[in-house]
Symmetry: C2
Subunit: 162 residues, 2 copies
Amino acid sequence: MTTEERIRLQKHLVETIGLEHEKEGMQPVSSRILALLMVMDKECFTFDEIIEELGISKSAASVALKMLQLRNNVEYITFPGDRKRYFRLKRIEPYHIFEESRKKMQRNIENIGKILTLKANPQAPNNHFLNEIKQMMEFFIDSLDHLKESYLKRHNSSNFSS
Amino acid sequence: MTTEERIRLQKHLVETIGLEHEKEGMQPVSSRILALLMVMDKECFTFDEIIEELGISKSAASVALKMLQLRNNVEYITFPGDRKRYFRLKRIEPYHIFEESRKKMQRNIENIGKILTLKANPQAPNNHFLNEIKQMMEFFIDSLDHLKESYLKRHNSSNFSS
DNA sequence: GTTTTAGTTCGTGCAGTTACGAACCAATAA
DNA sequence: TTATTGGTTCGTAACTGCACGAACTAAAAC
């Protein structure tokens, strides 16, 4: 595979992965930027490189990058004597990727709890079902901690560094 | 707590939980319907009861219910000699609540795989990071099966029936 | 065969989002 | 001090998605 061929395929993949992020609720421009940072060989992109590569406006890039930083997906580094920001994927600890699901599930558990306290007959089939779901979620949350431990145990040889 | 008081609180909770589902990407009407079926004491709602209770149009209810059935959140039953559909929560097996996350993660794993095969230098820091994330996701998927087993083992006394 | 019931589909309007360009700001360079 | 660089904020225009009402369909009732 030639270099040109590879770059062509990479740009195509940026589009594909961008679309997939969009389907999962992310905005078009943010999706493309994130995909760009994941797919291309360049480890860091400047603001202008991002604009250039994706053909978007400065304002769109500015807003999207702000959101991606808030969501902990992107960070930037700078170099002395160079005002440019160099954007790259934020290197989180791998088990943090479950934080979002965990919080979501925690809220669900609380909501089902509230629902059940307001029911006239806790023995009704719906309530039995809701209680089962709640227990499954609680079990899942408990398991995440265990999962983290097991993962760290398996991968303690390869240390993570930001 | 009087019955009226309880019903008032339940209706308020429908709104709260509806809003929360909205924040997680579900459409307003679908969110309200789902919340209604979860919160209220009535185990089944007819089409007209849903419309009446939520103050929405027939078309909005029709579209939303179709989506909720597609997503496996809602089902309906009928009774002989009665053309009405009685909608209720779909009683899935509790460990199925992870199916969506599992599929999403599976797609992510495939995407990262594609990304890595197209990289010029697989040893670059970004790629090392992506690989760690991929491994964490694979570990999570593997663990879901284990989770299901453990859950079934703990709860084998209380059988699930549709 | 006509009417009623129980919902579905279609076309439209409104509201919310998104991305753009222009104006702006802050820091460095000249 | 003015100009340039690097990015942000604001106002606007275009687009998108959602919910409504009206028209429609299919099945049962009469």
